[in-house]
């Protein structure tokens, strides 16, 4: 008898496929996390690969322990993994978050994160039936704040947050029009 990471949903958008992480995604994730692009998600150019490896395995295991987790979004044509987006709820998070990252600089500016996040928001509100979710975004991460606003999220000044330097953006069902 095998314990499967079974029935993980697959979401499709015009250009992207969103699915649970697979081992083949690790090199692209590692290169992202161990670069300055990983600064806002616990990575950075001074971060060793062991940390990237543990973080990747934790992303996978989150699916098993919470029943939901971070999707990797890939190009529907080539299958190439481009980034991650999905619900995230580690032990010290005050509530369930929607997070996103675009891994390679060449993938940035194409609206991939927005496309993925709209699919994820629709998934958590329609399929999982959540009433709300937040995004914790570093006060210095202007790009992500702009994306949160485009997704219809509103700044929540009173919500508790894992890090005092985070801003809390609150998503609500129907706020992100497809």
């Amino acid at each position: 008898m095998n314990a499967h990471l079974a029935d993980t949903p697959v979401l499709e958008t015009e250009r992207l496929l969103l699915r649970a992480p697979q081992a083949g995604d690790y090199p692209a994730w590692r290169d992202f996390l161990c670069s300055a692009r990983g600064n806002f998600v616990g990575g950075g150019s001074d971060v060793d690969v062991g940390r990237a490896w543990r973080a990747f395995s934790a992303i996978t295991g989150h699916w098993t322990l919470r029943g939901f987790g971070m999707f990797v979004f890939s190009d529907r044509g080539s299958g190439q993994p481009l980034g991650a987006c999905g619900p995230w709820y580690p032990e010290d998070w005050p509530e369930r978050e929607i997070g996103w990252s675009v891994w390679h600089p060449s993938s940035e500016g194409n609206g991939y994160a927005q496309e993925a996040a709209r699919a994820v928001l629709s998934h958590v509100f329609s399929d999982l039936g959540w009433a709300t979710a937040v995004s914790y975004i570093d006060a210095a991460n202007i790009r992500s704040q702009n994306l949160a606003r485009r997704l219809g999220a509103a700044l929540d000044r009173t919500a508790s947050r894992p890090d005092p330097d985070d801003l809390v953006f609150r998503h609500r069902p129907g706020a992100a029009t497809p």
Binding site: A3, V10, R54, A58, W63, T64
Partner: protein, 176 residues
């Protein structure tokens, strides 16, 4: 396209080695918060413990082998974590064992570690395997000896310091 992780379930006389699951979290967080985790990087916060339990599952995906939650066969009560631990920076895969406080002194680690070694040799077809055991961890040193391991050399880890390498009897040598 759906992602699947296969974590086999193994049953021994008294134990079930199975995938971690949400109901194991409290026991694992309590263990990681206690002084019992001092030889394996602890004590840790609840958040760190959560990530570590997640990583136990994730290593199966990245390596194709990993560690199990060891549960009491009849009640499914989690007793510890045993299996093949192989993070990126490790010199080679090792049989690792951890037993929660309420399960100590009952031979749980021994029974689960033997099942793990059997899995490594018979199912995975490996010829050799080690365990990394800190010298100060006297209970684990005693278990390594009981399993017929021989202290070979010392792996120096950037964070955890000196980790002596204990080599198990090989697949061809039979069980001690």
């Amino acid at each position: 396209m759906t992602t699947t992780i296969s974590i086999p379930t193994i049953e021994t006389e008294r134990l079930r080695l199975r995938s971690p699951k949400p109901s194991d979290l409290d026991a694992y967080i309590a263990y990681r918060a206690s002084a019992r985790s001092r030889f394996v990087g602890g004590p840790n916060t609840a958040d760190e413990a959560f990530s570590m339990l997640c990583s136990i599952v994730g290593q199966w995906q990245l390596r194709g082998y990993g560690r199990w939650m060891v549960a009491q066969k009849d009640t499914d009560d989690p007793l510890g974590v045993v299996g093949i631990y192989h993070p990126l920076e490790w010199p080679e895969p090792e049989i690792g064992w951890t037993v929660f406080e309420h399960a100590e002194g009952k031979g749980v680690a021994y029974e689960a570690a033997l099942a793990t070694r059997d899995f490594a040799y018979r199912t995975l077809g490996w010829k050799t395997i080690v365990s990394l055991v800190a010298d100060e961890n006297q209970r684990s040193v005693a278990l390594a000896r009981r399993m017929g391991c021989k202290r070979e050399n010392v792996f120096q880890h950037s964070e955890f310091g000196d980790l002596p390498v204990w080599r198990h009897p090989g697949a061809e040598e039979g069980r001690p």
